[in-house]
């Protein structure tokens, strides 16, 4: 009977309002729940790794010594060039004043510096460069004593999160300041 439609407590407009409110709520939830997991998407250890690599190399491994104490951010010229040569596969002899760990000194084959001296492991890609400043402040990869001061994996050119740590160093004897850049991804 057509009476039943007049006895319903819900008109068409009531139904429309109710369903639209319900749909709005559902769409809202479905679009914002993925952002709950956003902090856990990226690898949070990249930040620590890049910081530690930069600190280890510029404050301990490649620095000069004065009265037995390491001079932070003052890199020893021969040790720095030898380090980059050895890591890139050219096994030069290690000068006696260098503070390398034994994993770099005693090896006879070219060593991937990720697992040894820097201790990062194969799950991360690392790129280490020393860049010199131009007059305007732009930086390009530096070459000292014929050695190009860059090593490690090639940084990706597509969009990907790369964590960069930079330090300001001087290579003793060159009277020039450089920017020590470590990229980890």
């Amino acid at each position: 009977m057509s009476d039943s439609s007049s006895k319903r407590g819900q008109t068409t407009i009531d139904f429309a309002v109710g369903v639209s409110v319900f749909l709005l709520a559902v769409i809202f939830i479905f679009s914002f729940v993925p952002s709950l997991f956003a902090p856990f998407d990226s690898d949070q250890s990249l930040l620590t790794a890049s910081d530690r690599i930069a600190d280890t190399l510029t404050q301990d491994m490649l620095v000069t010594e004065q009265d037995g104490a390491a001079q932070r951010y003052v890199l020893e010229r021969d040790c720095t060039t030898t380090y980059f040569e050895r890591v890139n596969g050219n096994l030069e002899s290690v000068p006696s004043q260098c503070r390398y760990p034994d994993s770099v000194k005693n090896v006879t084959t070219s060593v991937g510096f990720k697992s040894g001296p820097v201790g990062v492991g194969q799950t991360k890609d690392v790129n280490v460069t020393i860049e010199s400043y131009s007059a305007g402040g732009d930086t390009t990869i530096a070459t000292v004593d014929g050695t190009r001061l860059a090593t490690g994996d090639v940084p990706p050119t597509q969009s990907q999160t790369i964590i960069v740590s930079e330090r300001e160093v001087v290579i003793e004897g060159t009277n020039e300041e450089f920017r020590f850049v470590v990229r980890v991804w």
């Binding site: 914002f32 952002s35 949070q44 930040l47 930079e166 330090r167």
Partner: protein
């Protein structure tokens, strides 16, 4: 069976309240989104650590190249009795103690300023350089070398101490050593006073760096 008695939802208002309840639950759930200390962001602690390390490296490098002392002595003593003097390239009529514009300290005779400009100003950071010395009497104990503004809340400060002797000479505008010895200067012609003994004064170079 009366159809009306089996309706689970009597009023549209119930639907509205139910939707509000669901939305409140969703908003509450969003408040617990986890941001850890290691999450990359522009204001994380790592940025401050890096700025501090850059400033530390900058000061170490300047000290190694002996340009830190050159910077502290890059002073033009005044010939007028009412003024102390000013840094080279900074006119005595411009306000403030230190350099306020990049063009003033990015000069070829001032390698400290040139490197400061390359290391920090070219990389979207600003810096203040303050010289703190031992005062005599009720005078100020600090003088600015570079003053580019008020530091932000996340600024970091690194310092190095240098000793100035009476026998040290000032630097000319082009960076060469002048003939004026510190000991021979009238004490009111230099920003720091002359202490007794062969040591002129002990100056701490304080570099404050922040991101802009």
């Amino acid at each position: 069976m009366n159809l009306k008695d089996t309706l689970g939802q009597a009023f549209t208002l119930e639907a509205v309240f139910a939707a509000i309840l669901m939305l409140s639950a969703a908003v509450f759930a969003l408040q617990v989104t986890a941001i850890t200390p290691l999450t990359s962001s522009t204001s994380s602690q790592q940025v401050q650590n890096q700025q501090a390390a850059l400033a530390d490296g900058f000061l170490s490098s300047q000290q190694e190249q002996d340009t830190l002392k050159d910077a502290v002595l890059y002073w033009n003593p005044s010939t007028i009795s009412t003024r102390k003097g000013a840094w080279h390239n900074k006119s005595t009529t411009s306000p403030g103690e230190g350099y306020t514009r990049r063009s003033q300290f990015n000069q070829s005779g001032f390698p400290f300023g040139q490197q400061l400009s390359k290391t920090f100003l070219s990389k979207a950071s600003a810096s203040n350089v303050e010289l703190v010395y031992e005062p005599q009497g009720a005078d100020d104990n600090s003088y600015y070398l570079v003053e580019l503004g008020t530091p932000s809340a996340d600024a970091v400060t690194v310092e190095r101490t240098i000793i100035l002797y009476d026998s040290d000479r000032l630097r000319n505008e082009d960076g060469t050593v002048s003939n004026t010895e510190l000991g021979s200067l009238n004490s009111s012609r230099f920003y720091a006073p002359n202490l007794d003994g062969p040591v002129y004064n002990i100056v701490t170079v304080r570099v404050t760096v922040w991101r802009i």
